[in-house]
Every structure is written in C-alpha cells, then in structure tokens.
Amino acid sequence: MSGVLYSLVALGFVLIFKASGVFNFAQGAMVLLAALALVRSLDLLVVWGFSLWTAIILGIGFAAVVMAITARLIEWFVIGPLVNQDALTLFMSTIGVTFVLEGAAQMIFGSDVYPLRLFPTDVWLLFESHFPGGILVNKLDVWGAFIAGILVAGLAIFFQRTKTGRALRAVADDHLAAQSVGIPISWIWFVVWLVAGLVALVAATVWGTKLGVQFSITFLALKALPVLIIGGLTSVPGAIVGGLIVGAGEKIAEVFLGAHIGGGIEYWFAYVLALAVLLVRPQGLFGERIIERI
C-alpha cells in the first residue's frame, strides 16, 4: 500500500504547517535529499569496509546531520527573514527552497538511480487458510506502517506534552504574538524543520527501499498534497487517514474505473478526490474550521 508512504510524506507537511504556519512545498525535495544522502553514504561506508549494520547506523546518522544542517540553513536564510509575512509569501519561498534543494542534492550526491536495501521486501501471504490465494502483503509495507505508527505516537507526545511542542503551536498561531511572549522563534523554526527533515528521512528510507532513490521521489510530495487536503492541513491523524484513503482509492479506481476510460487514472485520481472533498468540506476531514474576521 503506497498509502502509508503518502501518509509519511504528508506528515512532514502537516508538522511544518501546524508548527509554523508554513505550507512546505519543499517536503518532497527534502525526502530526495535525505534519501540521496543516506544511499550515497551507505555505499561509501560499505566500500570503506564497515559492516552492514554499522554502515546503516552511520549512514542514517550522516543523513540526519545533513537534514539538520539543511534545516538550520533554511531557517537562517529563508524563513527567518520572512517572519511575520503572510502564508502565501512563505509558500512561494518554499517553492524556491524546493528548487535549491533539488539542484543541490543532485549536484552533491549525483543524479542516477540508486538502490537502497534496508528492509526486507519479500512478500508475505496472510490468511491463506481463509481465502483462496490469501492476501498478499509486502513485508516492506508492514514495516512502513509500523514505522509510521511509532512516528505518529512520538510526534503526538512531542506536540502535546513538551514545552517545545506547546511553543510550536503558539508560533503557528501567530508569529508576532509568540515572539512577544518570549518564544525564541528562530530556534522553534529550526526544530520544526529538523523534525520535518527527520520525517522526510524516514519516508526516504521506506520509499527508497521500495522504488530506489531517484529524482522521481520528489513527485511523491505532489501526491502528498491531496492527502493533506483530504485529511485537513492541521491534523496528524488526518494525514494518516488521508494517505490511506488516497492510497487505497487510487488503486481501486485504477482497477475498476481505469479499465473503462483508459489507464493511468492513478495519476490524477487523488487530486480530483481532493477537489471533491474541498467542495463539500473546505477544511478537510479532520481540519480545523477557519474563522475569519477583520
């Protein structure tokens, strides 16, 4: 189920949006960067003669450091100077960030297709005795779902229980007000982007194992957008549920509808679904209703 993976990427979006009010178009590029950093350092480490497990740990560590540096740089050069600007300006600046990251990631780490093997990808058969043929389950998907679950639980605790988490939500509500009550906004934003970077890294490991690390990973981010819309921009559970709906929905649509009107429905189904949801419920399934006044 690619739905889990969409959820993972969408989670990165939701986090940044929830915690800083920035709609981060660059999440896909961050996944690409994390995946490339991981895969290239793994290759190098294995060549240098580390054992596989040390290499994996060191590689993930290296990728995490890369994401931390990226977060710091983004905060420093782009988001920091744009504090108190309106959401659209911030959104467009993240499009700029996307391009820089895509270019830089490929320039530094190369732009070929690299295979990544962290999780077992073989296939399980479930319920063989109950159904004829059983249900095909990829081990990787189980891993993905497991990791997503842990991630969500961890993040929920982080947001609700820790001091930083509360500060994050204050910043999202109003930059200026948060600043004036003494919340160190640059530090908060660094934390947010770091967390988003780490979520991107997790998504990168799972997705990279499935498809190999390549440029097309960035399109994943575009797929995550309808997931967000369906789930609601500010809701972590929404991202998960939305991801599952999109992942399952597009496969079902492809199989049942695609046969009638020509294949490749997967390509746009999520978007049209999102559009339909928007028309009925503009804030998404789990989103907060926005009340506006002058």
Binding site: A87, L88, T89, M92, S93, G103, G264, W268, L278
Partner: protein, 375 residues
C-alpha cells in the same frame, strides 16, 4: 536630467489618467515598439548582427513573446487577484488542444441521441481565439472552488487541473485526432489569405498578439474590474464588505487569466512548436510561469515581460558563460545550477523585493526623477 516631468502639464482628466502620463515613458515605449515592429524584422531580413542566424529569433524572441503573454495571464490571476495557481500549464494545454481541434474540424458522434455535432475546420485566427475561450470556460470551472477555499488549498485545486488535463490529452485519443504517437501537428498558419512561415513572420504574428493583449490587460487592470481584483487580493473580507462581489471578481479573474493563457498556449503550440505532445504543458511549465510572475513582479504587466525574459535568458547565459570563461561544465551540472540559482533567486526576491524586478525598475525611475538630488 532626461527623465523629468517638470513642465508637462495635464489639463484634462483624460491626460491625468493616461497609461503613461510622463512624456519620456511614451517616447521610450514608442522607440521600443518601433524597434520591435520595424527594427527587428529589418535587421533579420538583411541578416545583420545579432540576427546573422535565425537563432535569436527562433530560440529567444519567439518563446519570449509567447511566454510573456502567458505570464501576463498568470499575473492577472496570481498577481492581481491573489489566487495562487499551479495549473497555468494545463490552461495553456487546453488552449492549444482546443485550437488544434477547432482548426482541424470537430466531430462529436452522439450515437445515443441519433446525430453528430460536426464543425468544419475553422480559420487559424478563429481557432486560436476560440481555444482561448475554451480555456476560459474551463478556468471558470476550476475557479469555482476558489469561492470556498483560498490560498494554499486553492493551489492544490489548480494542481488537480494540471494533472487531470495532462492525463486527458495523453490518454484520450479524440483530442489528438487518434494520432498513434500522441503528438500532433499544427495546421498551416493562414491569416486572411496570408500564410505565416518564416521566423520573421512568426515573430511579427506573436508580437501583434502580445501587443494587443498587453494593452488590453493593462487597461483592464487599471479599470473597475482590476480594482475589484486587487481589493480581493489585498483583503477579501474587507472587499466583500465594501460591496465587491467575490464570486464575480474571482471568476472574472479566472476567466480573463485563462483566456490569455489559453491563447498563449495555442500560439506556443501553433507558432513556436509546430508539433507537440502533452509534455510541452507539464507541471514544469506551470511552475515556470509562476516564477516569471514572482521574479518579474506580482501585479505588474511590465513585470511579466521582465520575468519571462529573465527565465529564458538565464539558462542560456549559464550555458554560454562557463565555456566563454574557459570552465566548461557538464550539462548535468548546468541543469542543477539552474535549479539552485532559480530557487535562491526566488527566495532572495521574496525577502528583499516582494514586487520583483518591476519594482526595482520603478524605484530606478523615482531616483531618475529626482536626479541628481538624493531626496
């Protein structure tokens, strides 16, 4: 010294409200138009530098004009009405494919109703304009969600248009007249008995289109409608309170913008590409148009031209400069470098000058007015 408006008195309201109230601006524009309409064709005809080869016309001026037109369209929606759109490429595609269908004849068999709709091939001019109209209709359809949603949500809604139409033109063979390869050829460019073939003629054709539409757009945004758009952009609730109908304002913005983008798409396909496939109007094109608008200047017609020029020229400069300097880069590095430079430029401009190059130019003009005094 040169740029001074002292002594230019306005004695009528019409003069006060002119597009270019300052004489020097009018003269400059006149010179520019003369160069564009007379100078360039003459130079190109006699193959005088820099028109010794057709490269400049074909690879720079022609795409520049068409993309500038598309950027004007995008600017109306994004810059003037504040509705972020990531689907401009789709509207270009709709313009192109509708124009193609109309130019080659439409046949819709309605077997279940017992008859068929057939339209004979229309003249090229009519089909280009009707292609734009078609894009406007679809634009309105995709603009309808904008009444309930805005900003980021809307960006995703327009992205839906992008992906949906990418797919439609790739997979529905009716649109490509059942071409097996999926790529289609534009019909011959005949205008009132004249056939447009050479690059110079193509250039002039586009120039006429661009001039007409730029003037129309400029006047539109100065007028009642444009003010409504800007009010919606600046604060929609406040605009609604002072009596602007958001429905009308937003949908007209979508319609006008998609119309211009659609015409640009038809020109891009017919005049520049000649034969094309859906890839020509992918999401890359949408982002490119958005960049032109941001870099050139949100809410500025002139900015659209500057932005288009910049986006087109930067890659070419990146290709030429390193080799001139003796540091040849691989094409791959250049592409990546392009990405990085575009990205950082967008961030830089958003931080330092949210109104883009157009604002820089107008600051320059202000300074010139006072020159040599600093205040």
């Amino acid at each position: 010294m040169l740029y001074r408006e002292a002594g230019q008195f306005k004695t009528t309201y019409a003069a006060d409200m002119a597009i270019f109230p300052i004489r020097q601006d009018r003269i400059a524009l006149g010179i520019l138009l003369t160069i564009a309409f007379v100078g360039v064709p003459v130079l190109a005809n006699f193959r005088i530098w820099p028109f010794a080869s057709e490269y400049l016309l074909w690879a720079i001026l022609l795409p520049f004009l068409i993309l500038a037109l598309a950027a004007i369209g995008a600017n109306i929606l994004v810059g003037y009405c504040g509705q972020i759109s990531l689907g401009s490429g789709a509207f270009m595609a709709i313009g192109a494919y509708s124009a193609y269908k109309l130019g080659t004849g439409v046949h819709i068999p309605l077997a279940w109703l017992g008859f068929a709709i057939s339209i004979p091939p229309l003249p090229v001019l009519a089909s280009i304009l009707l292609g734009g109209l078609m894009a406007a209709v679809v634009g309105i359809l995709f603009g309808i969600p904008s009444l309930r949603i805005k900003g980021l949500y809307l960006a995703v809604a327009t992205l839906a248009a992008q992906f949906f139409f990418d797919w439609v033109f790739l997979r529905v063979p009716w649109f490509t007249n059942y071409a097996p390869s999926g790529s289609v050829n534009a019909p011959a460019l005949e205008f009132f008995g004249l056939t447009v073939r050479t690059p110079i003629e193509r250039y002039l054709l586009c120039l006429i289109f661009v001039t007409v539409f730029a003037v129309l757009a400029k006047n539109l945004v100065r007028g009642n409608l444009g003010r409504q758009w800007m009010a919606i952009r600046d604060m929609d609730i406040a605009a609604e309170l002072i009596g602007i109908r958001p429905l009308y304002a937003k949908l007209t913005a979508f319609a006008v913008s998609s119309f211009i983008i659609g015409v640009a798409g038809a020109l891009w396909a017919f005049v520049y590409l000649g034969s094309w496939e859906p890839l020509a109007f992918s999401i890359e094109r949408s982002l490119q148009l958005l960049f032109m608008v941001i870099i050139g200047g949100l809410g500025s017609i002139m900015g659209s031209f500057v932005g288009a020029a910049f986006i087109l020229i930067l890659p070419i400069m990146l290709n030429l400069l390193p080799t001139q300097l003796g540091v040849p880069l691989s094409t791959e590095t250049i592409t990546h470098l392009e990405f990085i430079i575009f990205g950082s430029l967008i961030c830089y401009l958003l931080i330092k000058e949210p109104h883009g190059f157009a604002r820089l130019i107008s600051i320059g003009k202000e300074k010139l007015r006072l020159w040599p005094f600093p205040y």
